[in-house]
Amino acid sequence: MQKDDDRLVHNRGDEFLQVFKKGAEFTQDLLRENERLRFRLLELEKNSGTSGEAPDGELKKLSERIASLEQEKQEILGRIRQIEEENQDFAARYLEIEDENNNLANLYIASYQLHSTLDFKEVLQIITEIIINLIGAEEFAILLLDEKSADLHAVASEGVAREEIPLVRLGRGVIGEVASSGESYYAREVDHYQRDFAAPMVCIPLKIKDHVIGVLAIYQLLMQKKKFAPVDYELFTLLAGHAATAIFSARLYSDSERKLSTIQGFIDLLTK
């Protein structure tokens, strides 16, 4: 009986020991799991700590970079605008130079043509062409001064018959005053101007230095020419000087040719 009791106690002790061992193992497992979880938690905390701090820094850096790039963009856009404005200025300047170049070419060609001949009729023809083609006048006359009679008489005209142009006394009326003063005359109203032989729309003295040899009187512009352009005034100035010298030279040349011919006739007569 005692033995049975001992065996029973022993068996129970074994069972208890088994249970205790299992409990110990379970406790060990729990402790390991706990350790693992704590480690995992630390890892996560570490990770979450890193990913929490880093984005703030990164965001700050990125924000700064964006601001810097935005500033650069604004600077570039400003520069582009500036270059565009400069380009527009250059384009406008280019057009101005182009116009100036054309005007100079017109003046050069007009001047070149005026001095290309010593034939009086040709000179008058060239002056006429310049006035029509470069200035755009439709009705005008070239009047020369006869210094003996102090009268101005038409030697060429366009759009009106030469005979229609009245003789003008030096110092009288608009034309006579222009010839005596050597100062150009421009009518105030070009748009509403009505042809008046005594008071032309424009009257330019043809003069060599201060010596007036005649005038150019414009009575009407071509229908498509509404007003004078700045280059027209330059052409008038050119005509005032160059046309006068061209006319004077041609007249002098034809006079000398005529005299030479007369003298040659006398010489031939004397030597025969």
Partner: protein, 125 residues
């Protein structure tokens, strides 16, 4: 070898010079001058032209007659023609265009206008 052959038909040497000056801005242009319509036709028969610029009021043969003859000749009818004249009225323009002119320029001469019209007809950008 010139790229563009242009014929200027104009009785005034001053005008011919002015027109030629404007056209010389075109790279590769070669300019031939004629003093009236008859002279223009003679020059046309001697070589190929890419463009004709003609005055209207000329002795011997005027510009409108020249335009008409050129347009009725199968050898030249495709050559663009520009008429340059003092006549600024709409009916003058229409008459020239009806005869076959491609464009119409009025005086006073503006070199930029001549250049623009010539470039357009020569298809130069």
């Amino acid at each position: 070898m010139s790229e563009y052959n242009v014929l200027i038909v104009e009785d005034s040497p001053t005008m011919r010079q002015l027109i030629a000056f404007a056209l010389k801005r075109i790279r590769g242009v070669r300019i031939v001058e004629a003093s009236d319509g008859v002279d223009g036709l003679k020059k046309l028969s001697s070589e190929r032209f890419d463009l004709i610029l003609t005055d209207i009021n000329m002795p011997i043969m005027d510009g409108l007659k020249l335009v008409s003859l050129v347009r009725n000749d199968s050898n030249y009818k495709s050559i663009p023609i520009v008429v340059i004249t003092t006549e600024g009225a709409q009916e003058d323009r229409e008459r020239a265009l009806a005869l076959g002119a491609n464009d119409y320029i009025t005086k006073p001469i503006q070199p930029t206008k001549i250049l623009d019209v010539a470039k357009a007809l020569l298809k130069i950008s």
